[in-house]
């Protein structure tokens, strides 16, 4: 999956701004290239968990559809831990056919990003490339 550098910077900025709470969002695009970041509210406002607001989810899903894009990824941050998916990430990965992207601020000066397919308890890393516009 390709993420333009400006969108990646927006994801990192959101993660930093919301830390120590986990930040979350939805990435939309086409042909496996991200074109838009939807910043979402972490309804739980916790540092160890995120849950999106259904009303926001519905709004974003409809906007993605009307834009002719597809939902490519669900992203969230790990403010102080690695990019590895947690047991909770795997358990709650109910939306199929999307990549689960994690931005880690474990090293705050050098944020890390990784993508995963999480299906039926299996974790498969998906290459994520940060690309120029």
């Amino acid at each position: 999956m390709k993420i333009p550098v400006d969108i990646f910077e927006q994801m990192v900025a959101q993660a930093r701004a919301e830390a120590p709470i986990e930040a979350c969002g939805i990435l939309a695009g086409s042909n496996n290239r991200v074109e838009k970041l939807y910043k979402m509210t972490n309804a739980e406002k916790r540092s160890d968990h995120f849950m999106m607001e259904p009303a926001e989810q519905f709004k974003v899903v409809k906007d993605i559809r009307s834009s002719g894009l597809e939902m490519l990824a669900i992203f969230h941050s790990h403010p102080a831990t690695p990019t590895r998916p947690s047991a909770e990430d795997i358990r709650l990965a109910l939306t199929l056919d999307v990549t689960y992207v994690i931005v880690s601020l474990e090293n705050r000066d050098h944020p890390a990003v990784k993508g995963f397919l999480l299906e039926n308890g299996r974790v498969t890393e998906v290459p994520v490339r940060i690309v120029e516009q």
Partner: protein, 70 residues
């Protein structure tokens, strides 16, 4: 009758409830799904008794959540 489910036209029986629709749509964990009908989010307790009507626009999606590595 005809309804729209997640943007797609669907032809279905007249006595279709939200619970039955989720089964027809092969939703494995309906307890982890949010449902919106014509822009209004339903309570989970309403899934069983809510009958769909012709031209209803239904959206459903799974909760999106997770937690940190520990």
């Amino acid at each position: 009758m005809n309804i729209v489910v997640n943007g797609e036209q669907v032809n279905c029986d007249d006595d279709l409830t939200v619970s039955k629709l989720l089964i027809e749509q092969k939703v494995k964990m309906p307890e982890m799904v949010s449902v919106e009908i014509n822009g209004k989010i339903l309570k989970r307790t309403e899934f069983e008794q809510t009958l769909l009507k012709d031209d209803d626009k239904v959206e459903f999606l799974y909760f999106m959540g997770g937690g940190r590595w520990a």
